[in-house]
């Protein structure tokens, strides 16, 4: 087996950089550069040399195969976070026999191959690394902790129960089996459909949580959208001016709203316009606003954009004009801004299921396949003919779909997809 190495921290200037080496030759590599092998799992300061030349002074951590992340012998070099130092160290490593740069996701792949992680946990890890906010971290952590795997076990057990009932009716028809198995089968199937459907319904939101919620600020020109955006974002993100139609493009500001990743969209003022360029901006604004997770309607809702459940009506420029429908907010003075943020946060949090375990489109697709099979099974359950063998077939399909969640089958395809979403060194 090859020994692989890569920079494990973000590239660029930083306080420290971590270079990870994993594989049978990891320890020899450490001895070659540091002149010695520190005691495992004990941080040791070493001077790294190549050909008599000092590369850097680094903190070196050695792990045995049983206690490392990948399951291989591992060495981690914590160097100064300098681009030059890191490049020099990587070059030195590449000249050591048996070592080669890691491919994308290869460390994690080894952890999977060495049975340190299962498929769903690998996905959890990928999300954890990407997590920017508290809610994202929590969701990823659930996956990483193996919650999906546990739930799959439970679903699988119930599906197997249903399958077993049906199969018993088929294979032991000439023996004494309980008279009517169908009510239990129907009940099991119904409950599974409900459980799967709940997970499926939550996947959209969970996916949003992974990528961030979009909140669009919509309203007539010059109603104060950009001022509000700047106030919400706490910095000058959009160009604000007194003239209507200044914001031609959609401006995005990412922010962490009480743990939720939120992208605020400032859209062009929505009005009929002769200006070709502005017209493009208006169309684009309409589309983005319609597709966003939530809309803040500034100064009324009649803008050609439909009000969707959960959208928030805001009465803008509260400092200038008293009254008006909706939450009273002033982007200029900051009046009502905290209340608005709280309202957005409450609305988005409500959508997050606390128990959601399926969080990726891949999970959703597998569950949809399971539900489709179980829906067909339900239909067959009410056929006048005895079609037990077809019902059994549908339940098998559902089992296969659920199994694919944790990678029990279709290993190849699933892996391909998973590892495509990884980048080097993780």
């Amino acid at each position: 087996m090859d020994t692989i190495f890569a920079l494990a921290t973000a590239p660029g200037r930083a306080g420290v950089a971590v270079v990870r080496v994993s594989g049978p030759a990891a320890w020899t590599a450490c001895e070659a550069l540091a002149g010695r092998l520190p005691r495992p799992r004990l941080a040791s300061l070493c001077r790294l040399h190549e050909g008599g030349e000092l590369i850097d002074e680094a903190l070196v951590l050695v792990f045995e195969s049983g206690s490392s992340f990948t399951g291989d012998p591992v060495v981690e070099f914590q160097t100064h976070g300098s681009v030059a130092v890191v490049n020099r160290l990587l070059a030195a490593l590449s000249r050591i026999d048996g070592l080669r740069p890691a491919e994308a996701g290869e460390f994690t792949r080894r952890a999977l191959e060495n049975e340190r992680l299962d498929l769903a946990r690998v996905e959890g890890l990928a999300d954890l690394i990407e997590a920017e906010t508290e809610a994202q971290r929590r969701q990823a952590m659930r996956l990483f902790e193996g919650d999906l795997g546990k739930r799959v076990e439970d679903w699988r057990a119930r599906l197997l129960r249903a399958a077993a009932l049906v199969e018993a009716g088929i294979d032991f028809a000439d023996e004494e089996i309980p008279q009517d198995i169908w009510p239990e089968v129907a009940a099991l199937v119904q409950r599974l459909i409900a459980d799967f459907s709940a997970e499926i319904a939550g996947i959209g939101t969970a996916e949003r949580l992974r990528h961030g919620f979009e909140v669009a600020i919509v309203g007539a020109p010059n109603v104060g959208k950009s001022t509000l955006l700047n106030r919400l974002a706490g910095r000058e993100a959009a160009i604000t001016s007194e003239f209507a139609g200044t914001t031609r493009d959609v401006i995005e500001v990412r922010m962490d709203l009480g743990g939720l990743p939120v992208t605020l969209l400032d859209t062009a003022g929505l009005r009929e316009t002769e200006d070709v360029i502005e017209a493009i901006g208006v169309t684009r604004a309409r589309e983005r606003a319609e597709a966003a997770d939530l809309r803040l309607f500034l100064g009324g809702e009649d803008l050609g954009i439909s009000l969707q459940a959960g959208d928030i009506l805001v009465a803008p420029k509260a400092d200038l004009q008293p009254g008006g429908g909706g939450l009273r907010v002033s982007g200029r003075t900051g009046e009502g801004v905290d209340a608005l943020l709280a309202e957005i946060q409450r609305e988005l949090s409500d959508r997050l299921g606390a128990t959601q375990t399926a969080v990726r489109l891949r999970h959703g697709e597998a569950l949809v396949r399971a539900v489709t099979a179980l829906d067909s099974a339900t239909e067959l359950l009410y056929m006048p003919e005895d079609v037990a063998e077809l019902i059994a077939e549908q339940i098998r399909q559902a089992i296969r779909a659920v199994d694919s969640l944790v990678g029990r089958i279709g290993v190849e395809d699933v892996l391909g997809e998973i590892f495509a979403s990884f980048c080097i060194g993780k």
Binding site: N114, D118, I170, F172, D174, A392, Q397, R408, V411, E412
Partner: protein
């Protein structure tokens, strides 16, 4: 006597008979050695052939021109198609057999084979040259040489019979156990295990009060096993049904400690799906009564086989509980029920041809591999005999797959998973159940049988003619177009404004049978019913079959990753010792095969795949 054969089959039970016959059909000279000449076609237990899953096996044996189906048809005294109300994929033909007729028909079939010699005697040991088979040695030290041997000694390896707390060595009632052979096999380093099974007391039908017992008769239109049989030969009879009661259960409960199973006299594992009456009473204590089928063992034989009360209680207790049952108040027991413990060889040491992987020329079939049942035994016998012949004649192995037959499913299960209890066939073991039907066994397997030189000219002609009829009918039906309105009018659930369909597509609609369609397509009446039925069944499952074909393709992708025989699992870091052990024992041929090993994890599969790929890249 001749002293050299291509193939020697040891054991004349169900596995042995079909093994010897298959080897002879495949062109080998064959010796069938068995303890007693009457062994040919002897049923140790229930005088019945077929059933769910098992009926499929018999049809498949017949499609390869094996003996069991034809013999069972000739000896059948009652035919029933189980699951008749369910879909065709899960219907299983079953018959009651007259023991004597069965033995006679089997003996006749065997003696008709020119290349096959039956030898009465006990094989005491195999003659080996290192790990290569040279022949067999008899009890009297005589030797016969051969290129290949098929061992089918059933329950005779270290067999131990239990009746209550009495035990005596034996392969079945009235048969000696094979101890010499068992010792040798163990010394060859083959993994063995211990299993058990049991049989009920046999009753004297003349002492049964038949009046008022519920009658169970055969089907009006009997489904035969053989594709070449047209109907029953023997006179047809009915069975009767009676039930145990609370008093029966009390007697059994009071004497549990005297049962071989419960008194702790037996170490072997029994089949969960074939519990003794002691088991039933203990495990299902809430049931006040269990059903018993009273099955005649023959037309001119008073012996009755009471199906459902196998036991290992002492003889006096058997008598007491049997007589507590309605109709059996004064019954005489002709032979007590008993349990038998025996050795089996871990089938994970075999390959798909049922040959021992680390020896040359030794094949195993039947109960010796941990299975139970005549049909399972005969099906393995056929495959082992065929391959022993091909091995002896220097031909390629002949293998069946999970996707083409129940036989393929069974053998793959055995060599991959091994057994933890006696292995019996069920339809649910076959993941491609909808395409592996009893009715299309010939279409699945007869072409293979022809390619392997297993099939007689008569069968080949009949098969070709049948295929021609089906193809012709299919072609004509494909050209007839039917409107949705007409279909709807005929009571088929379809939108009347839907598109026109051809007659084949119409058959695939839910609820559309040949009957409903004949009103609309008068041409149907011109085809013979068997052909139409077959087409109707294919159509009924068509959408499922399409999906299954995709599954089969996916499987074949994984099957295409071959794992070399010398693959070093010890080099795979991170593989648990347990999985490593299993993989080394099974030596999976392909990635798909590895995936079917019990307890296999996705991570382990990925690991193997990664290594295969690495090898690929190096080669490329």
């Amino acid at each position: 006597m001749k002293h050299d054969f291509d193939v020697i089959v040891v054991g004349g039970g169900h596995a042995g008979c079909d093994a010897a016959a298959a080897a002879a059909r495949a062109g080998a000279s064959v010796a069938l050695v068995t303890l007693k000449l009457q062994d040919l076609g002897t049923m140790s237990c229930n005088p019945a052939i077929g059933g769910l899953g098992k009926g499929h096996l018999v049809r498949e044996i017949d499609a390869l021109d094996g003996l069991m189906g034809r013999v069972a048809d000739r000896a059948g005294i009652q035919f029933r198609l189980l699951n008749r109300k369910k879909g065709p994929a899960v219907q299983g033909p079953r018959s009651q057999a007259d023991r004597k007729l069965y033995r006679a028909a089997m003996t006749q079939e065997i003696t008709e084979y020119q290349r096959l010699t039956v030898i009465e005697g006990e094989v005491a040991s195999l003659v080996l040259d290192g790990r290569t088979l040279r022949g067999v040695r008899f009890g009297d030290d005589a030797e016969v040489t051969a290129r290949a041997v098929v061992l089918t000694t059933g329950t005779f390896l270290n067999g131990l019979i239990h009746i209550g707390d009495e035990k005596s060595p034996g392969g079945r009632m009235g048969g000696r156990p094979s101890i010499g052979l068992a010792e040798q096999i163990k010394s060859m380093g083959l993994a063995t295990g211990r299993l058990k099974t049991g049989t009920p007391p046999r009753l004297d039908g003349r002492t049964i009060d038949w009046d008022g017992l519920e009658e169970q008769s055969g089907d009006d239109d009997p489904a035969m096993f053989s594709f070449l049989s047209s109907g029953p030969v023997a006179r047809q009879i009915s069975c009767r049904i009676t039930h145990t009661n609370e008093r029966t259960h009390d007697i059994i409960r009071q004497n549990l400690s005297r049962s071989a199973m419960y008194g702790g006299h037996i170490e072997g594992v029994g089949p969960r799906y074939c519990p003794s009456i002691e088991d039933k009473v203990v495990r299902f204590s809430e049931k006040a009564s269990h059903q018993i089928f009273l099955e005649p063992e023959g037309l001119d034989d008073p012996t009755i086989y009471p199906n459902g009360i196998s036991t290992s209680l002492p003889q006096d207790v058997q008598e007491a509980y049997v007589r507590s049952i309605r109709g059996l108040e004064n019954v005489a027991i002709l032979q007590p029920g008993y349990a038998i413990e025996y050795d089996y060889l871990d089938p994970r040491g075999l390959d798909l041809t049922l040959a021992l992987k680390d020896h040359e020329g030794i094949f195993l079939a039947g109960q010796i591999n941990g299975t139970t049942g005549y049909e399972e035994a005969a099906a393995q016998g056929l495959v082992a005999g065929l391959n022993a012949a091909r091995f002896a004649l220097g031909q390629d192995p002949a293998q069946l797959q999970r996707s083409d037959s129940y036989i393929g499913v069974m053998i793959d299960d055995l060599v991959t998973q091994g057994v933890s209890e006696p292995y019996r066939m069920f339809t649910s073991r076959a993941e491609y159940r909808l395409s592996l039907r009893a009715d299309n066994a010939d279409q699945r397997l007869t072409p293979l049988g022809i390619a392997w030189d297993l099939v007689s000219d008569a069968r080949k002609r009949a098969f070709d003619a049948k295929l021609e009829r089906i193809d012709a009918a299919r072609e004509i039906l494909g050209e007839i177009s039917v409107s949705s309105r007409a279909l709807n009018g005929a009571g088929i659930r379809v939108n009347p404004d839907g598109p026109r369909r051809n007659a084949l597509e119409s058959l695939a609609l839910p609820g559309a049978g040949i009957g409903a369609l004949t009103q609309l397509v008068p041409e149907l009446a011109g085809f013979d019913p068997v052909t139409l039925e077959q087409i109707g069944r294919d159509a009924m499952y068509e959408s499922y079959l399409q999906r299954q074909r995709k599954d089969v393709e996916a499987l074949q992708r994984d099957e295409s990753w071959e794992i070399p025989g010398d693959f070093r699992y010890e080099d795979l870091q991170g593989l648990s010792a347990e999985l490593q052990g299993k993989l080394k024992r099974v030596k999976p041929r392909t990635l798909a095969h590895a995936g079917r090993i019990e307890g296999m994890t996705p991570a382990a599969l990925t690991l193997i795949l990664a290594h295969l790929r690495r090898g690929e890249r190096k080669r490329a």
